[in-house]
């Protein structure tokens, strides 16, 4: 078998979310993985440790998560598609270098299989407690992209998309997967190479000595040279000019750079944001949910419809940039929005903001279990009053 064929296991499989995520990375062309063992994300590292050498690629277990993300940034600058995977405590350790990846516009993918926090919390138990950290965990103003799968198939599909977004926008992309999806086993169909769309970072088209590593094109994203090609460029976590020179004292450069880093995501958000509307036509009550909660929500919506209640589901696939327009749009047409989350109130803040005057009924849940459909159904009915 060729390297390509060994990387892409086209066919039907029975996999967990973690394993599907690893296979999605390989299908996307990921050829470098650096990580550190942590429950419930370890299976991703284990799969990569077994699979990457089979296709001539590199797996390394680093000394901690700080080193893991640093190595991923280095590998990306040396030209490889690179990924790391972790859970809450490791995600916390990675935050500073996620900021470095943002500042140096490094394409990379970071998977966070969410367990119960804060601190060591409940390592083997699921949560959706890191969804705000994905956006705000590092210091300074910035934007990233975060996707959240609700099935094992989607763990595979979205990992490919995560690499595509990372390469398109030169930004770290997070996969925020609750540990239930991470550990759940389901059927996965891995398509043939012809049916997978892959995007690679845009290369510079200027002569070697004219290249400016942070000079954007129309879409606000700069083409990316890699080390060893002769461009001899400099990148730094300091505020910098388009040519890479540090400018720690210029107000103008700080504004221009930080605005662009945010705007390249904000102004392209229509191209990035994905949501799924289910039974939303003529809905009077909407459930907005993501990850495993969206599956309980779907069951609740079906039960409600069976009872004659006009309920629908807006499932968020993209968490960041927040699907503001999509939520605002449905908020105009429904009387109430029900938001079940496996945390004590995180993404609901964004939903409330987008929903404006529309009533938002929040259902928190702490500790492993997602909501039971009946609980969501009850809230749907409550919203009907």
């Amino acid at each position: 078998m060729s390297e390509e064929n060994r990387a892409l296991l086209t066919g039907k499989h029975f996999l967990s979310g973690d394993l599907a995520c690893a296979e999605g990375a390989l299908a996307a062309g990921c050829r470098f993985f650096a990580g550190y063992p942590i429950t419930p994300a370890t299976e991703i590292a284990e799969r990569m440790a077994r699979r990457l050498p089979q296709i001539g690629a590199t797996y390394i277990q680093m000394e901690d998560e700080i080193a893991s993300i640093a190595a991923v940034i280095g590998a990306s600058y040396a030209g490889l598609k690179a990924m790391t995977a972790t859970s809450g405590p490791g995600f916390s350790l990675m935050q500073e270098n996620i900021g470095l990846a943002v500042m140096t516009e490094t394409p990379c993918v970071v998977v966070d299989v969410m367990r119960g926090g804060p601190s060591t919390g409940q390592p083997t138990m699921a949560s959706q407690q890191d969804v705000m950290q994905a956006k705000w965990g590092s210091h300074g103003d910035y934007e990233i992209i975060a996707l959240t799968p609700s099935s094992v198939q989607e763990a595979f599909d979205l990992t490919i998309e995560a690499f595509n977004y990372a390469e398109t926008y030169r930004v770290p992309v997070m996969i925020m997967m609750d540990a239930i999806v991470g550990h759940m086993w389901e059927k996965v169909i891995i398509p043939s190479a012809d049916n997978i769309r892959l995007i690679d970072r845009k290369k510079p088209s200027v002569p070697l000595n004219e290249y400016m590593p942070f000079k954007p094109e129309q879409n606000l994203v700069p083409p990316m040279a890699i080390f060893g090609e002769g461009y001899r460029f400099h990148a730094t976590g300091l505020t910098h000019e388009e040519d890479g020179r540090p400018r720690t004292e210029s107000i103008r450069v700080q504004r221009k750079l930080v605005q662009r880093l945010c705007d390249k995501i904000r102004k392209n958000s229509d191209k990035i944001v994905q949501t799924k509307e289910i039974m939303m036509e003529n809905a009077e009550i909407a459930v907005v949910a993501y990850g495993i909660e969206s599956r309980a929500a779907l069951s609740a919506v079906r039960k409600a419809r069976a009872e004659g209640i006009k309920a629908g589901l807006l499932r968020l696939v993209t968490l960041w940039p927040f699907p503001e327009k999509n939520v605002a749009e449905i908020a105009k047409n429904v009387r109430a929005i029900v938001v079940p989350e496996m945390n004590y109130g995180q993404l609901v803040r964004e939903i409330e903001r987008a929903a404006k005057a529309t009533t938002v009924r929040f259902l928190p849940k702490l500790g492993e279990e997602p909501h039971r459909p009946e609980e969501i159904l009850e809230a749907i009915k409550g919203g009907n009053l």
Partner: protein, 280 residues
């Protein structure tokens, strides 16, 4: 009539108007000079070298060298460099950073990269303090010395970096002061040509910050101290290489061979690929 003559080092330094942030008398310039001289004497291909630095005064060196370069977060140049090297083993990857960056906040990365024997070169400018933030005590500050955060004298024992590097598994370990320019340059050349994790400690004067708080005097006073206290002790016991006011053991301490991480990884990949091809 005016004629412009190119400096022989011009090609090695970036021309993008990066201003020099180092104080008058600072030892970092000597280190840069030595590094660039080593590249020139080896006729090194600048397109095939990546210079990585961390945070601190010496951290700016990556920006000054006319090669691909990356200025990481504080303490993280070694894992970044590890990623670069493993992603493209054809590149020569050099980390140049400070004692605080490499041995306080980044200490864990240093020992593990040395243990794995990743083929990267680490050059540490040791100035005994955190210069950029104004002269705080660090992991190499000698006992009893006054700094802005040890106003009553330092009560922490400093690292003997030579012993640490040797004990962690580095295949090449050397220490020179900025007075030993020719020997430092030779060591850099040797490290660049050697396979495996190589470490060079450069004792660099910091007259403006450390020199004042520790009452060490100006750059010339530092040089006189280096001259008086340095003892060339090639391949002597790294455990006995600690620096005291009276004695700075310098020289090459380790020069050995051990398979690199990359070599073992490639061998493993060939085995696994053959097995995978033959099997399923």
């Amino acid at each position: 009539m005016q004629t412009e003559i190119a400096h022989p080092f011009d090609v090695y330094l970036r021309e993008t108007g990066m201003h020099n942030i180092w104080c008058p008398g600072c030892g970092n310039g000597i280190l840069l000079n030595s590094f660039v001289t080593a590249l020139k004497e080896l006729d090194f291909d600048l397109d095939k070298i990546v210079v990585v630095s961390g945070i601190g005064c010496i951290g700016r060196i990556a920006g000054y060298i006319n090669a691909d370069s990356f200025h990481t977060t504080h303490g993280r140049p070694i894992p970044f460099a590890t990623g670069v090297k493993l992603a493209n083993p054809e590149l020569k990857v050099v980390v140049i950073s400070g004692d605080g960056d490499l041995f306080a906040i980044g200490g864990n990365h240093f020992i593990h990269a040395a243990r794995r024997n990743v083929d990267i070169k680490v050059i540490c400018a040791n100035n005994f303090n955190y210069g950029m933030t104004g002269g705080q005590q660090g992991p190499t500050t000698p006992l009893n010395v006054s700094t802005v955060t040890t106003p009553y004298g330092n009560i922490e024992h400093p690292f003997n970096l030579i012993h640490l590097a040797a004990g962690s598994g580095a295949v090449y370990v050397a220490r020179w002061t900025t007075l030993h320019v020719r020997r430092l340059t030779e060591s850099i050349k040797k490290a660049l040509q050697k396979e495996g994790f190589s470490f060079i400690e450069v004792i660099a004067q910091c007259p403006e910050i450390y020199g004042k708080s520790a009452k060490m005097g100006n750059a010339i006073d530092f040089m006189n101290w280096f001259k008086k206290a340095s003892e060339v002790q090639n391949f002597s016991d790294p455990a006995k290489a600690e620096i005291t006011p009276e004695r700075i053991p310098v020289g090459e301490f380790v020069d050995t061979e051990k398979p690199t991480f990359e070599k073992l990884l490639r061998e493993k990949i060939v085995q696994v690929e053959n097995k995978t091809r033959g099997g399923t």
